[in-house]
């Protein structure tokens, strides 16, 4: 059972629901506490563990991750810009780690793409884009629309190529 929630610690804030890349952390209908709805689909990415402001989520690691049943717990301290890990082995040995998660105050270095220079012809014709879909159209054509890309909408919001 990969992630699980300590019910007495969880206050149902929803951060784990928000961040889970597999969309398997949800709020229990009756108790309004988070829980892992599909443990088999959890790949122990620790996103929810780190996002939880109350450290209410823990991971019971698979044998490939925690071969001797050791405990791995973490605290992501946003204000300090660090993440700390504590590994406790079954024989009682403890290892502590502390690493940066950002080197600049949060949100201060988000690039404004409107002010960035457009890609040059050389970049557009680069072989690095050889396998990109043609719909990207890194050329000087007009407005990119579904029609100009020979696409049309179909029920359900998906699109398909109109031939």
């Amino acid at each position: 059972m990969p992630t699980f929630v300590y019910m007495t610690r969880c206050d149902g804030c929803g951060h784990c629901v928000d961040i889970c890349p597999s969309d398997i952390m949800h709020i229990d209908d009756k108790y309004r506490r988070a829980y892992n709805i599909e443990p088999n689909m959890c790949w122990e990415c620790y996103s929810c563990v780190k996002a939880c402001p109350h450290q209410a989520i823990d991971v019971r690691g698979y044998a490939d991750f925690a071969p001797l049943g050791h405990s791995v717990r973490t605290i992501r301290d946003e204000e300090k810009g660090t993440i700390a890990w504590r590994v406790k082995f079954r024989d009682g040995r403890v290892k502590n780690f502390l690493s940066p998660i950002t080197t600049q105050p949060w949100g201060t270095k988000i690039p404004d793409f409107r002010n960035e220079a457009e890609p040059s012809d050389e970049m557009r014709n680069s072989e690095l884009l050889a396998f990109e879909p043609k719909y990207i159209r890194m050329d000087d054509g007009g407005l990119h629309t579904l029609e100009s890309n020979k696409l049309s909408l179909k029920a359900g919001g998906e699109y398909h190529e109109s031939l």
Partner: protein
């Protein structure tokens, strides 16, 4: 309006204070019995003590009685009195409104009923202020912060009685009490709704979240004790504040960085369902 005296009016309409006292005592008894039943059913007390014993074995240092007193005092000051558990300041305000509204409303009811003086000017005003706070807090919570609404995008109008009995009862108790008072119809349908709401609030403890008010302070105290004795639920205890940690090779990138980097994912409410 808040000078209306609904309890005195009820007494004047023929309900004696003895009858009211009996009803209040029945409600208190229901809360006690149902909380114990809830505890036995969920085995929460058993889990709590077993978990505390396990933590003791992992303790790095022992805590003196004085330190325990200090931890208890800070738990009361932070977690109990000011709902420090909530990181979202607005959510915290909502909880404080509901909590103090509930306390004021019930304390003033008890004071008037057991003092056999439903016309007491001060308690009557406290009763109304409490009911208004409770109504604002519980309705605010219901439409904005109820977690399946806030985090899962469910409609606030999708009701599950078992899940929502506590919130609904709080809302119903405060709103029907205010309507009862303002309409001045002591023995009318408004009073029937007040009785129904309070019976659901205090009689539904076994199924509702009511008993969290008894458990949460112990859980908060336990959390602080574990931090103080070094067991810390196996969580890391090292931080960037410690000079020796600042010397770590891994921390070189943060040498010139401010100690407060602001908020990252917590800058936005978790509503990206």
């Amino acid at each position: 309006m808040i000078t209306n005296t609904p309890i005195a009016a009820l007494n004047a309409a023929g309900i004696s204070y003895d009858t009211m006292q009996t009803y209040v005592m029945v409600m208190v008894a229901l809360v006690i019995v149902m909380t114990i039943a809830d505890m036995l059913h969920k085995k929460s007390a058993k889990f709590f003590f077993e978990s505390a014993d396990a933590a003791k074995k992992n303790a790095v240092k022992s805590i003196s009685a004085g330190e325990k007193m200090g931890i208890a005092a800070s738990t009361i000051a932070t977690d109990v009195v000011t709902s420090g558990e909530f990181h979202n300041p607005v959510r915290r305000i909502v909880h404080l409104l509901t909590m103090y509204g509930f306390i004021l409303f019930n304390a003033s009811t008890a004071a008037m009923v057991f003092g056999a003086n439903g016309a007491d000017a001060m308690w009557t005003q406290v009763w109304h202020v409490g009911a208004i706070m409770l109504a604002i807090g519980s309705v605010w919570f219901w439409f904005v912060f109820k977690v399946d609404v806030a985090a899962e995008g469910n409609s606030p109008f999708s009701i599950d009685i078992r899940r929502d009995i506590f919130s609904l009862s709080l809302m119903a108790t405060s709103i029907t009490a205010l309507i009862w008072s303002f309409n001045g119809n002591a023995m009318g349908w408004e009073f029937a709704l007040v009785i129904l709401s309070t019976a659901s609030l205090f009689g539904g403890v076994y199924w509702s979240k009511f008993s969290h008010m008894f458990f949460k302070p112990f859980a908060a105290y336990d959390k602080r004790i574990r931090k103080a004795d070094g067991s810390a639920e196996n969580l890391p205890t090292i931080t960037r504040d410690e000079p020796e940690q600042q010397q770590r090779h891994s921390m070189e990138l943060l040498v010139d960085a401010p100690m407060d980097m602001g908020l990252g994912i917590k800058r936005e409410a978790p509503k990206h369902y």
